[in-house]
C-alpha cells in the first residue's frame, strides 16, 4: 500500500516537472517551429506521462495524452508543421493534464472534468493537416510511409501501457485513423477555422520540407538515440531530497560552526602542535561544509521564471499584442523559501507589464516603435541582495493621469499632488485598489495588482521601486534578501535587574548585577543610529506629557524606551549617554532608546515556540556566536505596543489628510498655556471664546462636576491637569485661569495653570503622539507643544455635550 503511494508521489512529482518543462519547450517551439530536438523532448515528456498513467490506470489522463502524443509524433516525424494553432491545442492539452494531476494529488481520482473537446480538437488537427500536407505539390516525404512510421512509433505505447488502456484508449485511435465520423463539435470547429488554418500551414510546408527532407528521418532517429542515451545519465546525477532534511542538516552545520569556534579558541592558546593542526583542518572543513550546505538550499531564479514565457505568450494572445520576453540572469541563485515567496508577486508584475505596459501593435507603430513589445526580466546579485527588474518598453506611466486619479480617489489633496515629484506620484500605483485602467480586463485593472506585489515583497524584507519614462518604458525594481533564514541585524543591549522571584529561581542570578539582554533588530527596519552624549543627552530629549520626543533635523521623533516597551526592570540610568536607534515601522519613524549598540551581524532566524507566538514584540530568536539565544525584535510589534503606530493603514491615510489640511491653512494664531507643572499646550485662538479668572471659592459642585456661575448660566469646568496628566490640582487661593469654549450657546471652561502667550505660527501637526486629548505636537517658538483636542476632551468628560446640541 505504502509502496503504491510512494510510486504515486514519484509520479506526480515527476509529471509536474515534466509539465513545467513542456510549457517552456512549447513556447520555444513557437519561435522555432521545426526544431526536432525540441519536438523530440516534448514527445518524450508526454510519452512518459502517458506511460505511467496507464500503469496507474488513469484512463482520462491516458486518453488525453495519447491524442497529444499522436499529434506530436507526426510533428516530430515531419509529417506536419507546427503553427500557433497546433501549439495552442497542445498547450490546452498540457493544461488539461495539469488539472487532472492536480485532482489526483488532491483527491486521488482524476476528477470529473470533461476533456473531450480538447481531444476532439487535437484529433481534428491530426486529420486535417494530413490533408494539407498531401496537397503539397512536391511531397519530399511521401504521406503514406510516415503514417506507417508514425503509427509504428506511436503504436507500442497504447499496448505497452497496461491492460486497462486497451479498452479505454480504443476510441481515440479510431478518431484519427478513420476519417471523421459526424461528431458534432469537431466539424463545427473545423468549419469555423478551416479558412484560416490551411493557408497558415501550407506556405510554411514546402520550404521547411525542402530543408529537412533529406535528413529528416535520420535526425529524428538520432534525437531518439541521444535521448535514450542521455536520459538515464541525467536522471542518475540528481536525487530528490526532502527539504526538511536539508533544513535539519543546515541546523546541524550551524551548530558545528559554533563548536568549531569554541575549539578554535582553545587552539589559539594551546601549545600542542598536533591539536592546533587538527583544529585548523576542522576550521577549513567546517567552512567548506557550511558553504556547501548553504548551496543546497539555493535555487536558480529560473525555477520561477520558467513559467513566464508561457504566461506572457498566453496573455499577449489574449490582449492581441505581440510581446517578446527576455530573461537575463536566469542562473541567479536564491534561497528556496524566497523563491516561493516571490513567485506570485513576480507573476503579477509580469502580467502587469504585458497588459498595461506594452501597447497594442497599432499604437506602437504609430509611436514609431517595433510592433512587438519587449518585456525584460533581469536578475543579479548586488550588495548581498538580489535585484530583480521587470521592465517593458511600453507606454510608461501616465503621471498626470495617476495624479488626477489619486486626487479623485481622495488619496491626496490637489495642491499637495501638484507639488509631488513624478516619482512620488508613480508610487500611488502601489496603493490598494488603485487602478487607472479604463476598463477591467480579464487580466488586470481591478486595482489589486501592485499593492499585492509591494506587500508581498516587503513581507520578506524586500523593497520595491518604480521608474518610468512616459512613452518609453517602465521598470519595476525589486530588491530582496538572498535568504530569509539569514538576515543582517543590529545587535543592541538592554540591561535589566533580575526580578526578585526570578533571582531565587535560577540560581544563576545570585549576583545582583544587572543582566545584559541582547536583542537583534532586523537591518531592513533600521534607518540610522543617533548617539547623544553628556549635555546633549540631557537637553536633546524632551518630555511632553509622558511622551518623549527627540528633535531629529527639525522633525519630532517619538522615542520608545526598549526597557519600558519590554517591561524590563531597568537599572537606574546615568543619563549621560543615550543611544537612539531610528527605526521605520510601516510608514512611521520612531526612535528606540537602548542601553548599548554592539554590532551588525548575520543572524539565523529561528521561530519561537507556540507558547511565545502571542508576544507581538518578537519576530523570532537567534543563536549568537557564544551559543546563547537572543530575541529578534519585531519593530512593527514594538511600535504598536508603544502606540507609535496604531491601526496601521487607515492611520496613514488620515494622517495624509490632516497633514495636507495643516499645510493648507498655513498660519494660525495659537493660545499657549501651561498645564500641570511643565506641560506646554496650545489651542487655536479661533476656538477660544473668552479668557476668565475665577476665584477658587466660587467653584461649586453639581452632578459630580465642578461648575461656576458665569454670566447667569452654569459653566462646567474641566481641569486639564487632572484630565490629561492625572495630576491633582493644587488647591490654592489664587484665582483659576479658565479658557471658555463655546459652541451653539453651550459653553465649557478649561482650567489651566497659566496662560502663556498668543503666537502666530505656521502649524505642521505631527501626529506622532497617539494619546487622548491631544491632537498632536507642534513646534512653537522652538519648543515642543501639544495641541489640545478640544472636542475629544469635552466628549470624554461630557459625552452629551455635542449630543444635546443636536437634540436642541
Amino acid at each position: 500500500m505504502s509502496a503504491d503511494e510512494e510510486l504515486m508521489r514519484e509520479f506526480l512529482l515527476e509529471s509536474s516537472e515534466n509539465l513545467n518543462q513542456l510549457d517552456r519547450d512549447f513556447v520555444a517551439l513557437e519561435q522555432n517551429p521545426t526544431d526536432r530536438v525540441l519536438l523530440g523532448a516534448i514527445f518524450r515528456s508526454i510519452h512518459t506521462i502517458k506511460g505511467t498513467s496507464g500503469f496507474f490506470a488513469f484512463v482520462k489522463l491516458e486518453k488525453l495524452t495519447h491524442v497529444g502524443e499522436t499529434l506530436l509524433c507526426r510533428l516530430r516525424d515531419g509529417e506536419m508543421f507546427n503553427d500557433s494553432e497546433i501549439t495552442s491545442a497542445l498547450l490546452a492539452m498540457v493544461d488539461g493534464v495539469r488539472r487532472i494531476l492536480e485532482s489526483i494529488e488532491a483527491t486521488g481520482t482524476e476528477g470529473d472534468e470533461d476533456h473531450s473537446s480538447i481531444i476532439a480538437e487535437l484529433a481534428r488537427i491530426c486529420r486535417e493537416r494530413d490533408g494539407s500536407i498531401a496537397a503539397v505539390p512536391t511531397p519530399p516525404v511521401a504521406p503514406s510511409p510516415p503514417v506507417e512510421a508514425s503509427t509504428s512509433a506511436c503504436a507500442p505505447s497504447p499496448e505497452s501501457t497496461s491492460s486497462t488502456s486497451s479498452t479505454s484508449s480504443s476510441p481515440v485511435p479510431k478518431v484519427f485513423k478513420s476519417p471523421p465520423p459526424a461528431a458534432a463539435d469537431p466539424t463545427e470547429v473545423a468549419t469555423e477555422k478551416l479558412p484560416v488554418s490551411p493557408p497558415a500551414a501550407t506556405p510554411l510546408a514546402p520550404q521547411a520540407l525542402v530543408a529537412q527532407a533529406p535528413s529528416g528521418q535520420s535526425q529524428a532517429e538520432q534525437v531518439n538515440d541521444a535521448g535514450v542515451a542521455k536520459g538515464p545519465a541525467v536522471a542518475d546525477s540528481t536525487i530528490r531530497v526532502d527539504v526538511t532534511l536539508l533544513d535539519r542538516v543546515m541546523n546541524l552545520v550551524g551548530e558545528l560552526v559554533l563548536a568549531r569556534n569554541q575549539i578554535m579558541q582553545f587552539g589559539a592558546t594551546s601549545k600542542d602542535a598536533g591539536f592546533v593542526n587538527a583544529s585548523q583542518r576542522l576550521n577549513l572543513l567546517t567552512t567548506e561544509l557550511q558553504a556547501g550546505v548553504m548551496k543546497t538550499r539555493m535555487q536558480p531564479i529560473g525555477n520561477v521564471w520558467n513559467k513566464f514565457p508561457r504566461v506572457v505568450r498566453d496573455l499577449a494572445h489574449a490582449c492581441g499584442k505581440r510581446v517578446n520576453l527576455e530573461l537575463d540572469g536566469i542562473e541567479t541563485e536564491l534561497d528556496r523559501t524566497i523563491i516561493e515567496a516571490i513567485k506570485d508577486p513576480l507573476t503579477h508584475a509580469v502580467r502587469n507589464a504585458v497588459d498595461h505596459g506594452v501597447e497594442s501593435p497599432e499604437k506602437r507603430k504609430a509611436a514609431g516603435k517595433s510592433e512587438a513589445g519587449t518585456v525584460v526580466l533581469r536578475a543579479f546579485h548586488e550588495g548581498g541582495q538580489v535585484n530583480i527588474e521587470v521592465s517593458d518598453d511600453g507606454g510608461g506611466l501616465d503621471v498626470e493621469r495617476i495624479r488626477a486619479r489619486a486626487i479623485e480617489r481622495g488619496l491626496v489633496a490637489a495642491d499637495k499632488a501638484a507639488r509631488m515629484s513624478d516619482r512620488e506620484v508613480g508610487h500611488f500605483i502601489f496603493h490598494p485598489g488603485f487602478s487607472t485602467a479604463a476598463k477591467v480586463t480579464n487580466v488586470s485593472g481591478r486595482g489589486v495588482g501592485m499593492d499585492v506585489v509591494k506587500t508581498n515583497i516587503e513581507k520578506i524584507g524586500g523593497t520595491v521601486d518604480l521608474s518610468s519614462r512616459f512613452g518609453h518604458s517602465t521598470t519595476l525594481k525589486i530588491k530582496i534578501p538572498l535568504t530569509l533564514a539569514i538576515i543582517p541585524a543590529l545587535i543592541v543591549t538592554c540591561a535589566s535587574l533580575p526580578e526578585e522571584p526570578l533571582a531565587k529561581g535560577d540560581g544563576l542570578s545570585s549576583e545582583a548585577a544587572p543582566t545584559m539582554n541582547r536583542f537583534a533588530i532586523p537591518q531592513v527596519n533600521l534607518l540610522e543610529l543617533v548617539r547623544l552624549e553628556g549635555a546633549q543627552a540631557k537637553r536633546g530629549i524632551e518630555r511632553i506629557h509622558g511622551t518623549t520626543v527627540y528633535r531629529l533635523r527639525g522633525h519630532l521623533l517619538p522615542l520608545v524606551f526598549l526597557s519600558k516597551a519590554l517591561e524590563l526592570k531597568s537599572a537606574p540610568s546615568t543619563n549621560d549617554l543615550i543611544n537612539i536607534v531610528v527605526l521605520q515601522a510601516d510608514d512611521r519613524q520612531f526612535g528606540l532608546v537602548v542601553d548599548g549598540i554592539l554590532d551588525t551581524e548575520e543572524i539565523v532566524v529561528k521561530p519561537l515556540g507556540k507558547d511565545l507566538k502571542g508576544i507581538t514584540s518578537f519576530a523570532g530568536a537567534t543563536i549568537m556566536g557564544d551559543g546563547r539565544v537572543a530575541l529578534i525584535l519585531d519593530v512593527l510589534g514594538i511600535a504598536q505596543r508603544a502606540n507609535v503606530v496604531s491601526a496601521a493603514r487607515e492611520r496613514a491615510m488620515v494622517d495624509k489628510n490632516t497633514q495636507s489640511q495643516a499645510d493648507a491653512d498655513t498660519k494660525e494664531s495659537l493660545l499657549l498655556f501651561r498645564v500641570g507643572k511643565s506641560t506646554r499646550m496650545a489651542i487655536p485662538l479661533s476656538m477660544v471664546a473668552r479668557l476668565e479668572e475665577v476665584a477658587a471659592i466660587k467653584v461649586e459642585r453639581a452632578g459630580g462636576r465642578e461648575v461656576v456661575q458665569y454670566r447667569g448660566a452654569i459653566l462646567p469646568l474641566i481641569a486639564l491637569s487632572r484630565e490629561l496628566l492625572h495630576e491633582q490640582r493644587i488647591d490654592t487661593d489664587e484665582p483659576l485661569q479658565v479658557i471658555v469654549y463655546s459652541e451653539q450657546g453651550r459653553s465649557v471652561g478649561f482650567v489651566v495653570e497659566q496662560i502663556l502667550d498668543v503666537v502666530e505660527e505656521r502649524i505642521t501637526v505631527r501626529n506622532q503622539t497617539a494619546r487622548d486629548g491631544v491632537l498632536g505636537a507642534v513646534v512653537v517658538q522652538g519648543k515642543v507643544t501639544d495641541l489640545l483636542d478640544v472636542h475629544g476632551v469635552i466628549r470624554r468628560t461630557d459625552p452629551s455635550f455635542f449630543g444635546r446640541k443636536d437634540a436642541a
Partner: protein, 153 residues
C-alpha cells in the same frame, strides 16, 4: 495480564512526578537561558538545544509550587509535544520506572484545580506516590494566553 507503562520520573519540591517515557526526548543538565520579557512568568527562558531554540518552562511555577532556593540548578527534561519541543525545568531526575495500571487512581477532587489539570492521576507505588504529568497540557499556558489578550487590549 497486568498492563504497565514506563514513566520517566523527577522531583519537584520533594514530590515525585512521572511523564510518559515516549514523550521524553532527552534529559540535559542546567543550561544558560535567555529570559523572554513580556512572556508568562512560567516561561523561564529560551535554551539552545543544538541549534534548536527551545522554550524552558519552570514546572514549579507551572504547578504553583514554591520557587527553588537560590543556588539550586534546575535540570532540563526535554519533551516532545504536539506543539513542538519544550524543556521542563525540574529539581532532580529520577529513574525510569515501570508502573502497573492497577495501581493507578484518578487525582482526588480536593487537589487544586490548576494542579489537577496537569496531573490526571496518581500511581500508588510502594514508596512515595507517583504523580502522572500530562505532557500535552503543560504547554497549554492559560496564563500566557491571558497575557497575550491583555497585551492586545
Amino acid at each position: 495480564m497486568a498492563q504497565t507503562r514506563q514513566l520517566c520520573t523527577f522531583t519537584l519540591d520533594n514530590l515525585l512526578f512521572g511523564i510518559e517515557v515516549m514523550n521524553v526526548q532527552e534529559v540535559i543538565r542546567f543550561q544558560e537561558m535567555t529570559a523572554v520579557p513580556l512572556a508568562s512568568p512560567v516561561v523561564r527562558g529560551l535554551i539552545n538545544l543544538r541549534g534548536q531554540i527551545v522554550t524552558a518552562i519552570d514546572m514549579r511555577a507551572r504547578l504553583g509550587l514554591p520557587d527553588r532556593t537560590t543556588g539550586e540548578l534546575a535540570m532540563n527534561v526535554v519533551v516532545c509535544t504536539a506543539d513542538g519541543i519544550v524543556s521542563l525545568l525540574v529539581d532532580e531526575i529520577g529513574d525510569v520506572v515501570e508502573v502497573d495500571e492497577k495501581t493507578f487512581e484518578r487525582a482526588p477532587e480536593t487537589m487544586a484545580a490548576g494542579f489537577r489539570e496537569l496531573v490526571p492521576g496518581i500511581y500508588k507505588l510502594d514508596g512515595p506516590l507517583l504523580l502522572l504529568l500530562d505532557a500535552e497540557r503543560i504547554t497549554n499556558l492559560g496564563s500566557g494566553a491571558s497575557r497575550a489578550k491583555s497585551e492586545a487590549a
